[in-house]
Symmetry: C2
Subunit: 247 residues, 2 copies
DNA sequence: CAGTCAGTTTCGTATAATGAAACTAAGTTT
DNA sequence: AAACTTAGTTTCATTATACGAAACTGACTG
C-alpha cells in the first residue's frame, strides 16, 4: 500500500464523522456508525472528543448529535475570499502538478470568454495561457462548456450570435452541446489552435449555477484522446471539490 | 489524574489546531506549534490530515495555512435554530447537572423580565421556575443584570420606571449596578422571594450586545454566599460559551 | 417479563501515534 | 561563497494509545 501523505488515522476518522452531518443535520451514534462503517465504540470515543470541544452537541432528550457552535465560530474566521481566481488557485496548482499540463479558469463576458486564472505547465513544450486573454465563444472545449451550461436565455442569445456557415452546422453543434451535458465535460483537439488540445469541465457554485470553467490544455501530441479521457474524471472530481469553495 | 470522558488524544489535538485559527486567520506550521505547544512533527501530521479533508488549505506560495472550504460546507449544515431558548437548552442542562440547581434564562420585555427557558433542579427541595413567568425588573439577580447591561437609553427609561422609596435608594442602586458591571455577575439573597437566592450573568451575542440573562437559583440555605461565589465563575464561563452559539 | 435495540464501559492487544533527530531547502550573515 | 539560521519534511524506534470484541446497562416493545 502507498500512503500519499502521512496522516493521523484517528483524526481522519473524526473528520469523516463531522462530514456525515452534511448528509443529515441530526444523527444518532448508530447512524454515524453506519455512515462511516466504524465500530460503535470508536465512534462513541470520537464523538466524545468532538463534543467536549463543541464541534458537535448532543441533544439531551433525543441523544442525537448535531453540529456544534464551534463550527459556527470557525466559519466566522474563514478568510473572506471573494473571487474564484484567488480562492481556486491552490487547487489549480495541485491539479497542474498532477496532470503536468497547463490549467486555466474561464468566465464568460458577453460573447467572449476571459481567462481569469492559469497555472502554467512546467514542461518544456507547453501551452502558454496568459491571464486576461479574451477568446471567442464558438470553439474550444471551455467555450463549449460555457455555452452548454449557460442559463436558457443566455444560451439563446449566444447561439444567435454565432455565425454558422451552414444551418446543418448549428444542428451538429446543438447535438454536441447535449452530449457535453450528458458527459459532464468537453474536449477539443486542434479546434481553435493548431497543435493544441483541451479538456474542460464546469464548476458550479453552492447554488448549482455555473460559476466558472476549468480546463487543462496542452500540445495535442501529448494530450492525446486517450489521455484526455483519462483526465476527464480527474477534472470533474477536482471541479466538484472546487465548487464547494465558492460561496 | 481523572479523565472526565474517554476521548481520543490525537483528535483533541487536531481540534485544538483548528481552534488556533480563531486567533489569527493565517498560520504557519511553527505558529501552530507554538500556540498548541505540540511538537512540530506532530502538528505537521495533524495538518496533513486536516488538509487532505479540506479543513485547512495551505497557500502554495507562503506555505501558510488557513481554514478550508470544509468549514464553510459544514457551517451551511448547522441546524438553523434562531431562538436562544432552544439553542441554549442543552448547555443549560449540562450546567444544571453541574451545579445541581435550577437554571433559568430571562429576557427583558418592557419593564418586566420574562423567563423564556428553564431546567429544573432534580433535588427534592428546589426553586421551581415556570417558563413564561413575568417578573418585576427591580429586584432579583437577573433583573439587576438586565438593567446593568441595558443600553443607555433603555437604562434611563427603566430607572425612571422604578419607584424608589427614598432618593438615597436610587443612589445605592446605581452603585450596585456599577459593581455588577465590574464583577460580571449579580447575586441576590431573599431579595424577591423568601428563602431564595440566585446568581445571574449576562450572555452577549456575537455583536457583544446583551442577548439574554442566565441564572442559577435555589433555596438560600443551600445556595449560600460561599456557594454563589464558587458558582459565579462557572456561570460566566458557561455564559461566554453560550454567547458564541447566538448568531 | 422476555426480547430487542441503542448507548456505554471495560480490557487485553497490536497498532499507530509519537517525538527525537536527521535531513532538505531557503534565506541571511559573514 | 562558505557558514549559519530558520522552517518544513521525513525517518525510525519505542511505547503509549487507539482499537474493537464483548460484556453491561437501561429503555422500549410485543
Amino acid at each position: 500500500m502507498e500512503d500519499k501523505k502521512s496522516t493521523v488515522r484517528a483524526v481522519d476518522r473524526a473528520l469523516d464523522v463531522l462530514l456525515c452531518f452534511t448528509q443529515k443535520p441530526s444523527l444518532s451514534l448508530t447512524d454515524i456508525t453506519m455512515l462511516t462503517s466504524l465500530h460503535k465504540s470508536t465512534v462513541h470515543r470520537l464523538l466524545a472528543s468532538l463534543e467536549e470541544k463543541g464541534f458537535v452537541v448532543r441533544s439531551a432528550e433525543t441523544d442525537k448529535y448535531t453540529l456544534g457552535f464551534r463550527i459556527w465560530e470557525l466559519s466566522t474566521h474563514l478568510p473572506q475570499v471573494d473571487d474564484p481566481a484567488t480562492i481556486l488557485l491552490p487547487e489549480m496548482e495541485k491539479l497542474g502538478d498532477l496532470l503536468g499540463e497547463t490549467i486555466s479558469l474561464y468566465i464568460r463576458d458577453g460573447n467572449e470568454r476571459v481567462r481569469i486564472q492559469a497555472v502554467q505547465s512546467k514542461q518544456a513544450i507547453r501551452r502558454v495561457a496568459p491571464i486576461g486573454a479574451r477568446l471567442p465563444l464558438y470553439v474550444g472545449a471551455s467555450s463549449k462548456i460555457l455555452v452548454a451550461y449557460a442559463d436558457d436565455e443566455a444560451q439563446i442569445s449566444l447561439l444567435s450570435s454565432i455565425n454558422f456557415p451552414k444551418s446543418s452546422d448549428k444542428e451538429k453543434y446543438l447535438i454536441q452541446l447535449k452530449q457535453i451535458r450528458q458527459d459532464g465535460y468537453a474536449t477539443s483537439i486542434e479546434e481553435r489552435e493548431q497543435g493544441a488540445a483541451a479538456v474542460a469541465v464546469p464548476i458550479f457554485d453552492q447554488s448549482e449555477k455555473l460559476a466558472v470553467v476549468l480546463s487543462v490544455s496542452g500540445p495535442s501530441n501529448r494530450l492525446t484522446l486517450e489521455k484526455m479521457q483519462e483526465h476527464a474524471p480527474q477534472m470533474m472530481e477536482a471541479a466538484a471539490r472546487m465548487g464547494k469553495m465558492l460561496r
